[in-house]
Amino acid sequence: MGKVKGKPGPLARRPDNSAFKQQRLPAWTPMLTAHTVLPSFYFMSLICMLLGVWLLLTVQTTKEIKLDYTDAGTCNKCFEKRKNASNAAQPCSCSVVLPIEKPFKGDVFFYYGLRNFHQNLRRYMDSRDDGQMVGRKKNLMNPSSYCIPFAKDQNKIPIAPCGAVANSIFNDSFTLKYHGNNGSPELVPLLRGGITWYTDKNVKFRNPKLDGSTLAQVFNGTGKPPYWHKPVYELDPSDSTNNGFINEDLIVWMREAAFPNFKKLYGVLNRANPPFTKGLPAGNYSIEIQYNFPVQYFRGRKEVVLTTLTWFGGQNHFLPIAYLVTSSLILLIAVVLTVLWWKFGKNGKNMEE
């Protein structure tokens, strides 16, 4: 481990006199003295307090309305119908009423929510094939073994998209109607596009290369997932570019939630035409639901959420309150430390000098 002797002469083996080797690097030595620590505590407390207050004020301006429609209103019959798996293919629609007392100003976001649905189980989350969803033809016909038992159907035909995640897609659909002053219900226009991350829509999910053929031809030789009513290339009959793996509802669903209670974006209010140019006016609304998704097996609940957003997200009371609590705790610690320092600090003060 000795140093290679490069230099000749009597002091050949003398170590270099560099600051690094002699451990004499200039150092900044922040001492935890009362003069640095206590003010920084007060400062942190103040910052948290300001942030908390600001966030709280911002949150107050948001509006949010939630409606659990699992068995509400006319959906009760659909709920009962879905209890029986043999009725899965039969359509069922219902509607629920949603009164809005104060207008929702600005952009309004429409979410559907599920409770007690475990999208975060390991085997569930693994049960997908990203290679297939990015449009690799090899994977399209040979889904990954992780997809089992939703890799191939009884006839050994590969499933596209394979896996438990895709198979369990949330397939209720909603139409929001506004019952304005003129009596006749008016359809609330929802933008169903642009609800995914850019990278998801453009990188992570791709259809297989068309090479001149139609989408249906490309998916020829694959089967739809067992719980689906229509194949993946016919998911959105209204928009031909929104089919296949790049269907936005599919993409949103495939982005698995971290917790068993979650909500996912369904659409955004289109504010192009009155009366929705400023958001949702107050009044009575109803939601018509194509009730397909069964939740009674796992004692789940379904809900819709309408909300406006702020710069830091939706109606999130956790952050402002957490900041305020933190602020007061730091303040408490700071005060205790100050008292300690005041009481026992006399000699401490001398020492620092």
Binding site: A27, L55, L121, Y297, F312, G313
Partner: protein
């Protein structure tokens, strides 16, 4: 006799055995084995929760790095060893031939003949037993005339001897030659490690070579040293492993319960596998999955990081200029890289004496002549100019010109004083280009050399004459008798007839002995001289009193006849001679006293004082005599008269096994322990004893081959390099040129190493727990299904790189060896902090995400990982007291690298290559552009850091206060002036018998002897070797006894020299 190859093999591996042996050794480590098991587990798809390469890549990396390090270590050490054994190739030709003295003997050799008359051969055995005096070995008379090469070629003797053993002072064998049997004993042997002196050449027959030599047999076994932190780490790894199992069990039970209550209902969307027949089985699988996921609590990088940290420290030790000795061009060297932090925990130091504490150089420092002292403190006055004396030794220094003036004024007392020094000794002169003295002890050499410089040059001797050059004039004295030194007499005298025809007796010896035999007329002078002696002793100098006596011609004749008669009797000859000597050494007239400094290595006393302040106990283990050892003890401040706890023990006592415990208990009550007359093996046993029963970290320091065994035994072995011999250095873990560097090695480097290592470990465990337990918490929300996508492999890598190096720079010089910085309690605190952090790290984002718009699992993972990196970086920043450029670089660098890797792993390109392995594509981009995520990160950081900050603030203040209380201790370092009693004695390393050797003329060259051959003396001297041997045993018995006595007297204040 079958000759063993003299090559000593110390390397562990060769090319073919390297891979299997090294791998085997590495997998013996608990951690490596554990990772291997993990790896196997991950190959089972039902369990595998992480992809297999996340474990195998680091494991292979670890194995590779360690293997390369082992290989280089092994290569370097074996290269060094083969170099050292090369110089002994001559020995294969069954002989040693030296034209230059001194030469080092490299095998155990039977002496056949030598350049000196009677096949005598002088050796120094400092390497073997630490004694510095010359010893004599003699060839068998039958072989002593084999000096001629042709005769030697025809030598066909055969030796039957004992098997190789480690007894340095015993040898039994028989030489069969020309149909005769000749018994052999230790006096015919030259052992490996001794140095040939005053002998031009000698021929010998190799008896033992290589590992069979007595020295190597004494070296003890090389054992692999592990630090206590290593052991602690192993224990902790086991604990963590148990903890891991517990977590696994908790989560597995959770999984079972969950599956049977909730998961059962979820089968519509996620049917159970065929293999997963029941909830219990699912729980069983979940257990293994969690073991894999949570394996990062015992991270693979821990061991490698620790090794790298140590390696870095070793380089800092190598690079330290303050441990570089420019005279010998030796830098300190950390020869093992694995023991650094133990340097900060040393409680016991075992030190060799000769060559380690002392330079083995005696210097004539002061004298008292006729009631006047000469000699000043060093550097107060200019050095005396000896240019008036053409024969002076240029290296001699004396700092008092008044003495030279007194000489020039021909002050009779001063002249007589130096005449005595020039006459009364057993030194042999050698005049080639310069006058060189061959003294059997360095003390005597120093005295004669002093006389030489002051103009009383001892030039030549024959058995009957001594020729001096007194102030430029040659004067020849007739040597009538030498009254030799022995340990009981503690003095020696010569009787000479000066050219004027007067007969004079010159005597030098221990002050008490001389003062008892003084003429009443010297009484006044005795009191003054006595005062001076106390003064000298107070400075740690070795003193001798000098006296002379004029003899009456007739009385002398009568006495001489008695002497001749007495020397021929067989029985009680010793006693009779002693009585006769006593008879004539009466009524002496005091001349004065000399003070010799046994030169310590530079800064020894200060170093010892400083180490004592740091509560390190220093034991001196030496093969040398009791008196010498104690003298050194006094001069290096280890012994003082005001000390009540001194323990001096000799080697013979150590042999009794029953005493072990008593010895240890008693010894540990004492501040200072000196073990003398110990063999190398016993040194190791003492170290072993302390190691075993005290559970303390021990350090052994030495320079010679006799220290090898203790250096190997102690937790840390330090070799003093740059002196003669490389044995100790080769066996050591650290080496440097001077004893005083020990202070820096322990108190600076050891401290830093320990400090940083502990900080590092604390931080490491903190980080790991913080990191891993997040998964544990998440288990409660994902049905205990062992889901992890919380970026498992990212942050582990990063954090190790940064703190390892950054921890290397802060450093606080604090002496003190409390091993409190990393123990089990602290480990728990660290892990507790880690758990707390992980709890906050999980639940704050959880709270925020559960009400947030985007509650995507991947975004959640990225948020937690980012908060983790930031929290942990801020934490390390706060733990640092020193921020150097390197710290900044690494901390900021690690955060940067984290983000770089984060974005790289989630880039489109990576996804494009392997879509299923990089499913996080775009998450960071989308997630980190959300303001709310940053709000969460900020909140998490503040909440995680504030409690730690508050605690460390309180702790620092507490420390400051306690440090203030202990503050003034540092001032005590100034050297305390000794108030010790006088320790006057003859040159202790002296051996008796040389007087006889000189008067017999045996050691004179043939030419000299033939001219002065005196038949009358022959019978007297024929058996001098036997006499010498007999007396030697006697001496050791005496010191043994005194050692015992010293032990018994232990609690009382011990002023050892008076014991005799």
């Amino acid at each position: 006799v079958v000759l063993q190859d003299n090559h000593i093999k110390t390397s562990k591996y060769n090319i073919f055995t390297f891979l299997p042996i090294n791998l085997f050794e590495q997998f013996q480590r608990v951690a490596n084995g554990y990772f291997l098991v993990l790896l196997i587990l991950q190959l089972i798809p039902e369990i595998s929760s992480l992809s297999w390469f996340t474990t195998i890549v680091p494991l292979v990396l670890v194995l590779l790095v360690t293997a390369v390090k082992d290989a280089t270590d092994d290569y370097v050490s074996s290269a060094l060893y083969s170099f050292s054994s090369e110089c002994s190739f001559v020995l294969h030709a069954k002989g040693v031939c030296s034209k230059f003295s001194p030469i080092r003997i490299n095998a155990d050799i039977l002496l056949l003949c030598s350049s000196e008359p009677y096949g005598l051969c002088y050796i120094e055995t400092a390497e073997l037993d630490g004694e510095t005096n010359l010893k004599v070995r003699q060839a068998l008379t039958v072989t002593s005339d084999l000096g001629d090469i042709t005769k030697l070629m025809n030598f066909d003797g055969e030796v039957i001897c004992e098997p190789p053993n480690n007894k340095l002072d015993k040898f039994t064998g028989t030489l069969y030659w020309r149909d005769n049997k000749y018994p052999l004993d230790n006096d015919n042997m030259l052992l490996r490690g001794c140095v040939l002196r005053n002998t031009e050449w000698c021929f010998g027959m190799v008896i033992f070579a290589g590992l069979q030599t007595k020295l190597m047999q004494n070296c003890g076994r090389t054992t692999f040293k592990r630090t206590s932190i290593d052991k602690l780490m192993n224990t902790l790894v086991l604990w963590i492993f148990a903890f891991l199992i517990c977590m696994g069990v908790v989560l597995a039970i959770g999984n079972t319960v969950w599956e049977s209550w909730i998961g059962r209902n979820f089968q519509v969307f996620l049917p159970w596998d065929e293999s997963q027949r029941s909830a219990v089985f699912s729980g069983f699988l979940a257990f293994w999955s969690y073991i894999i996921i949570l394996n990062t609590v015992v991270p693979i990088s821990l061991y490698v990081s620790v090794e790298v940290l140590r390696l870095g420290h070793s380089y800092f030790i190598n690079w330290d200029r303050k441990m570089y000795h420019s005279q010998t061009d030796t830098a300190a060297e950390a020869r093992t890289t694995t023991l650094n932090e133990e340097l900060g925990q040393v409680e016991f130091i075992f030190s060799d004496k000769t060559g380690t504490l002392t330079q083995n150089i005696m210097v004539f420092r002061k004298c008292s002549i006729d009631g006047r002292t000469y000699g000043m403190e060093l550097s107060k006055t200019a050095c005396v100019d000896f240019s008036f004396n053409p024969l002076c030794d240029r290296r001699f220094r004396f700092y008092d010109s008044t003495l030279v003036e007194a000489i020039k004024l021909e002050d009779p007392a001063v002249q007589e004083f130096f005449r005595l020094l020039a006459l009364c000794h057993t030194v042999m002169p050698e005049e080639k280009r310069h006058l060189v003295y061959q003294a059997q002890s360095p003390d005597e050499g120093a005295l004669v050399n002093a006389a030489r410089n002051f103009g009383f040059v001892f030039r030549a001797r024959t058995p009957e004459t001594i020729t001096l050059c007194e102030m430029g004039q040659a004067v020849t004295y007739q040597l009538l008798a030498i009254l030799d030194f022995n340990n009981v007499r503690k003095r020696m005298s010569v009787i000479v007839r000066n050219p004027q025809g007067q007969i004079k007796l010159y005597s030098k010896g221990a002050d008490t002995v001389i003062f008892d035999r003084l003429d009443p007329s010297s009484e006044d002078l005795m009191y003054t001289t006595s005062e001076h002696l106390s003064e000298f002793a107070g400075e740690g100098l070795r003193t001798l009193a000098l006296a002379y006596k004029d003899l009456d011609e007739d009385d002398f004749e009568i006495w001489m006849k008695k002497l001749l008669f007495a020397s021929t009797v067989i029985e009680n000859r010793e006693d009779q001679l002693g009585a006769l000597y006593e008879e004539i050494e009466q009524g002496l007239k005091l001349l004065g006293a000399t003070a010799i400094e046994d030169k310590l290595q530079e800064g020894v006393a200060e170093t010892i004082a400083c180490l004592n302040l740091a509560d390190i106990k220093i034991w001196v283990l030496t093969g040398d005599k009791l008196e010498t050892a104690m003298n050194i003890g006094y001069s290096c401040n280890m012994l003082r008269d005001d000390m009540n706890e001194v323990f001096v023990v000799s080697g013979h006592t150590l042999q009794e096994p029953l005493l072990e415990h008593i010895l240890l208990d008693v010894a540990c009550l004492c501040k200072t322990v000196i073990c003398c007359r110990v063999t190398p093996m016993q040194k190791a046993q003492v170290v072993e004893l302390v190691k075993r029963h005290k559970r303390a970290i021990t350090l052994a320091i030495g320079d010679g081959a006799n220290d090898v065994s203790m250096i190997k035994t102690a937790h840390i072995g330090v070799g003093i390099s740059g002196q003669e011999g490389t044995q100790a250095v080769l066996a050591s873990d650290y080496s440097f040129a001077q004893f005083r560097y020990l202070q820096r090695l322990l108190l600076v480097h050891g401290r830093w190493s320990y400090f940083r290592m502990c900080n590092f470990l604390c931080y490491f465990f903190y980080k790991n727990f913080a990191f891993t337990l997040v998964h544990f918490w998440y288990g409660f929300f994902c049905g205990f299904s062992a889901q992890v996508r919380i970026l498992p492999d990212l942050s582990v890598f990063l954090k190790d790189v940064d703190d390892r190096t950054s921890l290397r720079y802060p450093g606080l010089y604090k002496p003190g060896q409390q091993n409190l910085l990393f123990n089990k309690r602290l480990f728990f605190l660290c892990t507790l902090q880690g758990m707390g952090t992980s709890f906050l790290l999980f639940f704050i984002p959880y709270g925020a995400f559960s009400v947030m718009v985007k509650e995507d699992q991947q975004a959640f993972a990225v948020t937690i990982a980012t908060s983790l990196v930031i929290v942990v970086s801020v934490q390390i920043g706060l733990d640092k007291h020193y921020w150097t450029a390197v710290n900044h670089l690494f901390i900021w660098g690690s955060v940067t690298v984290y983000f770089a890797i984060l974005f790289a792993m989630q880039s489109n390109g990576m996804f494009g290559i392997l879509p299923s392995n990089f499913p996080f594509v775009g998450t960071a981009r989308s997630c980190l552009s959300e303001q709310s995520v940053w709000l969460v990160i900020l909140l998490t950081t503040v909440v995680c850091v504030v409690p730690g900050l508050a605690v460390s603030f309180l702790r620092v203040r507490h420390l400051q206060q306690s440090r203030k209380r202990e503050g003034p201790q540092g001032q005590n370092l100034r050297r305390v002036r000794r108030t010790s009693s006088r320790r006057s004695a003859y040159a202790f390393s002296h051996q008796q018998g040389y007087g006889e050797l000189i008067t017999s003329g045996k050691n004179m060259r043939a030419s000299a002897v033939s001219s002065a051959h005196s038949p009358g003396r022959t019978p007297h001297s024929s058996n001098w070797i036997e006499n010498m041997l007999k007396r030697k045993n006697e001496v050791s018995c005496i010191s043994d006894e005194s050692g015992d006595r010293a032990k018994n007297r232990l609690p009382s204040s011990s002023t050892e020299p008076e014991l005799h």
